[in-house]
Amino acid sequence: MQKWKKMLVIIGITGVLVAGAVVLYVYLKPHRDVAKEKAVQLTAQVLFDAFKSNETEANAQYLDKAIELNGEVADITKNQEGNTVVNFKTNDPLFVINCTFKTDPGVLQPGQTITFKGICTGYIPDMNIVINEGVLVK
């Protein structure tokens, strides 16, 4: 085979391999598994106070972080996809920490104190703080 043809074949194969690697990287990279992450431990009230007093600072500290939250269950519902959602009480009766489970936590009761681990996605003033992709710790 002529030298230039060989070169062309090598370049072609390298190109295909690189493109394949990029596609695999984009499509196969796994989602975060919060159960395996080390989390910041705090209570529902401490998290609420942090966001209420300074949203920007609290965002820098907690946004996208794994949070292990301890608090009293206000109510238990299901979201529109059928996942379990627990709202944690704060000292503001209209404000809760809204926590969505990715795995079924089993039977929970309002008034129970539980520890939930998930990823904090942020603060919605006058409504709630959102933590999702969560699991029950205890």
Partner: protein
């Protein structure tokens, strides 16, 4: 004395007004979007906080980091590169039902609505009009609507991925 009367009447009026208005809410409404040119570019947020009042006022708040993609890598790009969710963590909509007279919140049924308001996202506020439906079932509303967002309207340079996304809102209120 006259002042006291005026004051009392004022309080009474405020009281009746507050009582007359009914506000429905949810913390777990759903907003999803999909690119019309690449169906892998789609995501859903199931933690949309929304309030709907029977005077026609409607608000939605969605945290950008709450949008879940099928592919983790896309989710990361969406947050870091395009929507810059550390800097702009939330999208907020505040608006009104334009044809409120056609909606009866006390009677079960499906009502076509037009909603007009301001959407703030990625640091940009844009006026938006969308057509949707409010369905009252057992006295509780479910609001749904569809609209299109042009990425460049919100200063998002995603032209290599998609120029626009089709957005779908579905909120079941309590």
């Amino acid at each position: 004395m006259k002042f006291v009367y005026v004051f009392l009447t004022g309080i009474l009026l405020l009281g009746t007004q507050a009582e007359a208005q009914k506000v429905f809410g949810t913390r777990n409404g759903k907003i999803s979007f999909i690119s019309p040119t690449d169906e892998d570019v789609k995501a859903t947020n199931n933690e949309v906080a929304s309030r709907l009042a029977d005077n026609g006022q409607i608000t939605f708040s969605a945290l950008i980091k709450g949008f879940k993609f099928r592919y983790a890598e896309m989710q990361e790009h969406f947050n870091d590169q395009y929507l810059e969710s550390n800097k702009f963590p939330r999208a907020d909509f505040k608006g009104n039902i334009v044809n409120l007279k056609e909606v009866n919140f006390t009677r079960d049924g499906s009502y076509k609505v037009t909603v007009k308001g301001d959407l703030t996202m990625h640091g940009v506020t844009k006026n938006l009009t969308a057509n949707g439906t409010i369905e009252i079932k057992g006295g509780k509303p479910v609001a749904s609507c569809k609209f299109v967002i042009l990425m460049k309207d919100f200063n998002v340079d995603a032209s290599s991925i998609t120029e626009k996304v089709n957005v779908e809102v579905n909120c079941a209120f309590q």
